[in-house]
């Protein structure tokens, strides 16, 4: 049944009808009336003119405005920009595009399943996870079938398989995306219960705050996404890829696709016919970027080289390593080196695998020795190998794994196009110093400015680029009379690793000496002025043996500014 339209929702008040419009309508009515009543006095001051025609002109002008507003509610561009006159009509209209305003549906998040044993398990995809008494979630799997959890060290062969990661001596975890209904908020650290309690499952915890899936201005966002869906819903184009990701993953706040031919794309190749292969790098950032996690990593001691070596198998692809310490002695200083190696050099060689699921990380830590050359790390042994446990604290984006698994699922992946999902290449600030001018006798709300600037960099991604005015605006709104200078010290972090291993190099666990010798060091790109914060760098060693295949530009740059790196100094004239 059609939604009844109440014209009151659309009709303006009499005082709000513009006089110019009423005069135009009145003149049109006079002309129209002359056809039937050529002698009728419709002039101002006449009885009919003042008491009938003029009020009628107001009514018709208001009705025309109301009709325009009805049409506006059917114009998705207007709705997407926030102009809505009747929510019921808009809601009904959007249903034509199968776009439904979601109230409590499709909340999304990630759950960390913790196990006490390193065993293979199958989790029924219909398993329910309950937070509190009302928030119910199910697994969000990219493929059909159940979720298979594989033991540590396994290689997944199916899109629904996940490999356990050890986080400490007795616990193994796997992070799985879920979606469901969330009447009450699910926050980071909340524990869940399940109707499918597997043997060895000792914990189910929310990673990060769950996304409600419904933005505050639901109809407006829905209309915007509907337009994107209608006009561009193909994963084979830059715009279509972005539209698809935003539609499917409401918790993704930034997405940018680089395609073959872009300066930020180094994975593209040319086949024997001279045609470029279809390659797309999808950069994403979610609302919860970046969550922090600490994980125990066991490294084996290479006695000959006196170094601990091991795969840095973290539960999630790291964006930044905050600290590496000895599990039994956090105060012991270390000199770790991380190596990056591509799991698929054909698809993503060297630096192009950074920040993706195709990047394998290896951690090498020289054994620290005291002045008396005694080792400073207590090791353990089982008779054949010697090892020590280390704690690695790192940051990650939970959205990366979710988006990557869906975009590469058989039902979604476009034919003939290779898609790799990655986070944005972080520009890590050592410091950002803002010198502002404080007006005499006034306070400057530095806390407010700090919050705004941190949020600005947190959400700054293509198509937006860095501008100095954003810093100035934040300080002006905080009460400063101006910004004297903005000085930055930032570095492009090509990977959490400092070295890249070519595909021909042996694994560090097999031949550390050869691996170290073959490792390539990426160039240092430092930004010391704010003008450099929109970088444009492409590996100058491309085509040579020293190429690390790193590139950064406006489409794939992200920013990582910690609160401690943002410094304000006051200039009092």
């Amino acid at each position: 049944m059609a939604t009844p339209i109440n014209f009151e929702a659309y009709t303006p008040a009499v005082a709000d009808v513009p006089e110019a419009r009423v005069l135009t309508v009145r003149a049109r009515l006079e002309t129209w009336l002359k056809q039937g009543w050529p002698d009728l006095d419709t002039r101002p001051n006449s009885v009919y003119g003042d008491l009938a025609l003029t009020p009628l002109a107001y009514q018709i002008a208001a009705a025309e405005i109301a009709a325009e507003r009805v049409v506006s509610d059917l114009d998705l561009e207007q709705v997407a920009s926030g102009v809505i006159y009747n929510c019921d009509v808009v809601r009904q209209f959007l249903r034509n595009f199968a776009a439904v305003e979601r109230e409590n549906l499709k909340a999304t998040g990630s759950i960390r399943l913790t196990f006490s044993s390193n065993l293979q398990r199958t989790i029924d995809r219909r398993t329910l996870y309950l937070f509190g008494t009302t928030s119910i979630f199910t697994l969000r799997l990219p493929g059909s079938g159940h979720l298979e959890v594989l033991p540590l060290g396994s290689v997944p062969s199916n899109i629904n398989q996940r490999v356990l990661t050890r986080i400490d001596a007795t616990r193994y975890v796997v992070d799985v995306p879920v979606m469901g209904v969330m009447p009450t908020a699910v926050l980071a650290g909340d524990t869940a219960t399940t109707d499918n309690l597997l043997t060895g499952l000792i914990g189910m915890t929310a990673i990060g705050d769950f996304d409600p899936g419904t933005p505050e201005d639901s109809l407006i966002t829905l209309a915007a996404r509907t337009r994107e869906t209608v006009y561009a819903s193909s994963l084979s184009t830059r715009g279509g890829t972005g539209a698809f990701v935003r539609k499917e993953f409401p918790d993704i706040i930034s997405t940018s696709a680089t395609i073959s031919g872009d300066r930020e794309m180094l994975r593209d190749t040319v086949n024997s016919l001279g045609l470029s292969d279809g390659r797309i790098d999808v950069h994403v950032k979610s609302k919860q970027a970046f969550l922090s996690d600490t994980q125990l990593v066991r490294l084996t001691l290479n006695v000959a080289q006196d170094k601990f070596v091991g795969k840095l198998a973290l539960a999630n692809a790291p964006v930044k390593i905050d600290s590496i310490s000895v599990a039994a002695d956090a105060a012991q200083s270390l000199a770790p080196v991380i190596y990056s190696r591509s799991l698929d050099p054909v698809r993503a060689p060297l630096g192009t695998a950074a920040y993706t699921a195709l990047e394998e990380l290896w951690l090498v830590i020289p054994m620290p020795r005291g002045g008396d050359t005694l080792p400073l790390i207590v090791t353990q042994t089982d008779g054949s190998t010697v090892w020590a446990d280390f704690l690695v604290t790192y940051r990650f984006d939970p959205g990366l794994a979710q988006v990557g698994s869906v975009l590469n699922s058989p039902e979604v992946k476009p034919v003939g196009i290779d898609i790799v999902t990655k986070t944005f290449v972080p520009c890590v600030f050592s410091s950002l110093t803002v010198e502002f001018v404080k007006p005499a006798g006034k306070q400057v709300n530095v806390t407010q400015a700090r919050t705004e600037i941190l949020e600005y960099f947190r959400t700054l991604n293509y198509p937006n680029i860095y501008v100095d005015s954003a810093i100035s605006d934040a300080l002006l709104y905080a009460g400063a009379s101006g910004v004297k200078s903005v000085v930055c010290n930032a570095t492009v972090q090509w990977s959490v690793a400092s070295k890249f291993l070519p595909s021909t190099a042996p694994l560090p666990s097999v031949d550390l000496v050869a691996a170290t010798a073959a490792a390539l060091t990426p160039p240092l790109v430092r930004m010391l002025t704010t003008a450099q914060l929109v970088p444009d760098y492409r590996d100058v060693n491309l085509g040579t043996g020293n190429a690390t295949m790193v590139t950064v530009g406006k489409r794939n740059i992200g920013y990582l500014l910690d609160e401690s790196a943002l410094i304000f100094t006051e200039y009092a004239p």
């Binding site: 009728l40 002039r43 101002p44 001051n45 006449s46 009885v47 009919y48």
Partner: protein
Amino acid sequence: MKGIQVDFTGERPALGLLSVVGFAATVQNAMVNLGTNQGSDTLFPDRGTKLQENAIEGQLIDINSAQHSANFAAVDTVAFSKAYTPTDAGDGLATAVLEPADFNGSRVTIEAIFTSVDGEIVGIKTAI
């Protein structure tokens, strides 16, 4: 032109039962315009005159000032009438002459003579 009659003979103007046609309709509109305060109609800002307003504000201190105000009212009325009457209409208002005939300090009697484009003359005596 053909319109609905306004009866000015009573204490207050009222709708009549007859119709007015031709120049009589034009004169009736002009009378309405004379008594309308200029600026009171947001749709037609030029409609009306300042005659009543001047009287209420006490600007009509003698017959000369009343004549002065009446002249302006006549000009405004003719201009407004012409703006909304087809130029080829023979029953359109060509001129209006307002003459204070009597003034006693609190009341002024005005004789109004309206002339149509065709030369028809209608005279009315009214009091403000």
